[in-house]
Symmetry: C4
């Protein structure tokens, strides 16, 4: 993974995941709001989407696990090198472990939406688990590196840990759309931050790397981290606008008349309760 | 910002904000208590107030952002000084970033009270975000300073982080007036503490600064922090009394007769539930 | 306070407070359980008790504040000694500050049970505040002392902070008798621990003090802390048994017949819900 | 305890406990799901099981306490060795203290399911207490050891502390089957980790111990910890499948006809609420 590509790949993966999860949450939220007026079997659809998501996740995690093991120069499932008397490529095994927990998440998603006796909040718990394990491994990952290298990985651990906390909160308090969007935004941030780490440690332009001992770089990156966070809000806001427009357009064709009126009435009532 | 005025300005801003938020919370709470007897359309009013608050906040944050960039000697939107080969005035850029998140909060407040499909608890989340980002940036702010300078900024980080936690709790548990007042009191404390930092590091009297290496000063300031906290409770208590008196006076003119009686009955019932 | 008596006094105070709070919580819990059968105006009684408690607390805190200031050799309200150019007896001022927050708690208790427009959970919040402030001040209290001295005060900070957390949880989740008893047991532990600190640092027998640099003493005191904690559970258990016996005896005289039967029925129903 | 057996024994104990608790939680969950169709007095049964569990736990903890004191070379209830002027075998006393809190848990379980006036969530609180105390003692346990020895015990403290947190969450939010299973999985992990510590520090093969100063061993053990965690999920998943199969088989004999149909209907309704 010690390369620009090695950081860009998971970055892209998390970015797409975050984008997809935010879209899903917004869709669910809007559908539930307009449920009473015209309910077009969206529940069954969402169940199927969850199962599909589980399969895709499982497939990707499996690919990742196989990739880490069998690329040229990989450990090929050998954990201990008896000739050299030392552990064999622990970094790759660590990545393998992280992928394994995301594979578990995929399995949990598939099972909890196909087997009816399983509680449906299982995937949330497994997601929190996968993220906590990821944070734990990254935390034990940076021994003996340079100051800036450690700092950018600490920020990575911070964002992963916070995502895990939010996922755990979601598991405890069911169905809060803003918590789901917060989780999506943190996943997006993780994706972008992987890219940023790639740019800092392995500049793709081929130019010289950043000065790893300059404290000003730490100040800048801490600030940059916040800018990326603000960017995720802008992305999710734009996504919200786009999905709302899409849902409105689609709904107008199916049940054109009283949607607007009813929605306002409902809104009124809700804000009454919330006030 | 390295001056007395640079600390007094945000201090005054946060003090006024805290005072205003406490007033708003108390007003809302009292109006809800007397809702059943004579409900004078206060809901619409409160929505308008929130939108106005968002606009003011957005305007002030924008002013702050512009000010940090374009005052004489400011960075003028230049992030990297290629001539000197170093980052350009990172401290000002950090302040700029903080203001940016408060501008986001203003936008969220305006949007969530004008667009009906947005969840109304969005501003609480954005407030928690803005405060966490502020705490994060201040945490990475004091590298290489003197002991006492670091200590007063650590206390600042503590109070900002706690305010963020309380705002997040508010986001999770809707409509607890005491949590809102706790948040207001912490915002007030932040405002007062900015003033205190100004007095410690840049005495406006022109006299010599405090001895930054004397441990007794740390002991005193830790205690002083608590006194300021107690002061915020006194301020909010006085505000509570004043607003209660105002509301009673105003209500008496509109619906003079049965308020007192009904209020007592309601109170009885509530304490029954709470007991 | 640097004496055995200076630690035994607050220890006794907290021990009595813990005992009293546990008694109150148990009484409330048992009365609520038997409410349906014969409800002898216990609510008004409890309100009066709370107000009385507030007055006693306020009085004691005021005495403590006056004592810290005006005992022979006290600071007599002088904060800064201009002759010596240093702060005047900061330790005493710190104790003064802690007492002040408990006085605020007393005022909050009196006000929230006399003025009907105030939320009744205010005292819980003020208790959490008082405890957090106490923990904060003790945390900044042990600079430059010996290892064991620091350790016993760290444990004190730990127990105070945990009590504050439990009080804050109580404020958020209303009416959980076990949380109230947990808080009482932690208050008891604080009281006992003050005594233990007195015995360790200022042995009343007049013998030599403990070896402050021996690491085995730390191991022992950590374990001793747990034993004291277990002791508080035994005390509260005994108190529970005693109060239950008292309430049963008292209730038998007033409404002798159907208490037992109804209680069982209620219990059945409750455990049904809980199962 | 400084031996392989000394770590394998508690490891086995916690492993069996975790297995048993997961089985109990799954059984309860499935019984509640099928309650409406044929309710075969499972409540009384569960109460009896809890009491039995309390008795077994109490007995085992008592055995452990006696064992720590009276094995050859044990402290035989002597706390301070006046001849040598030092504490007498503090490590054994620490283990004794941990067992004592688990004995308290056993007592709480017995009492709260026999005496009807006690709240039924008491055992949860006592479990959290016992775990926090265990974590606290292990935290003060590793002074002056080697790097790897400290690291494996830190991970032990981590898992015990997290288990305590989950137990406390269970105490606050009643009846969440996934939280119960999470707690079981963490207890299982603790059991397996005790075994792992035994293998690392006292290899039973008689071969040389691991290199306690090699940082690669830390990296490997951090990863190994995650694998064990994954293993506990597999164990609980298999257990879930087994118990489900058992319950279905047993229920079919008693009330063969409409179980399946009703279950689906119920499921449908539930997911409706959850969606």
């Amino acid at each position: 993974m010690g390369s620009f590509r090695g950081h860009a790949l998971p970055g892209t993966f998390f970015f797409i995941t975050g984008l997809w999860w935010s879209t899903k949450s917004i869709l669910k939220y809007l559908c539930k709001k307009q449920k009473r007026t015209c309910y077009v079997g969206s529940k069954v659809l969402f169940h199927r989407i969850e199962i599909l998501e589980g399969i895709v996740l499982f497939g990707m995690a499996l690919t990742g696990m196989a990739g880490e093991q069998f690329i040229p120069g990989g450990p090929h499932l050998t954990l201990y090198d008896y000739k050299l008397g030392q552990w064999n490529q622990l970094l790759r095994w660590q990545h393998f472990t992280m992928y394994f927990f995301f594979a578990l998440l995929g399995v949990a998603e598939i099972l909890s939406f196909t087997i009816s006796s399983l509680p449906v909040s299982l995937p949330k718990l497994m997601l929190a688990n996968a993220l906590f394990v990821e944070a734990f491994i990254f935390y034990n990952h940076t021994h003996g590196r340079e100051m800036l290298d450690i700092f950018v990985h600490q920020l990575l651990v911070l964002v992963i840990f916070l995502t895990g906390l939010v996922a755990f909160l979601e598991f405890l308090t069911w169905n809060n759309v803003l918590l789901e969007l917060l989780r999506s935004s943190l996943i997006l941030l993780q994706g972008i931050w992987f890219w940023q780490i790639g740019f800092v440690l392995y500049p793709p332009s081929g130019g010289p790397a950043w000065d790893l001992m300059d404290h000003d770089n730490i100040l800048f990156l801490a600030m940059c981290f916040c800018w990326h966070y603000a960017l995720t809000f802008v992305i999710i806001g734009a996504n919200y606008g786009f999905v709302t427009w899409l849902v409105k357009f689609r709904f107008k064709r199916f049940c054109p008349s009283e949607v607007g009126l009813l929605k306002n009435a409902e809104r009124e009532q809700e804000s009454e309760e919330e006030m």
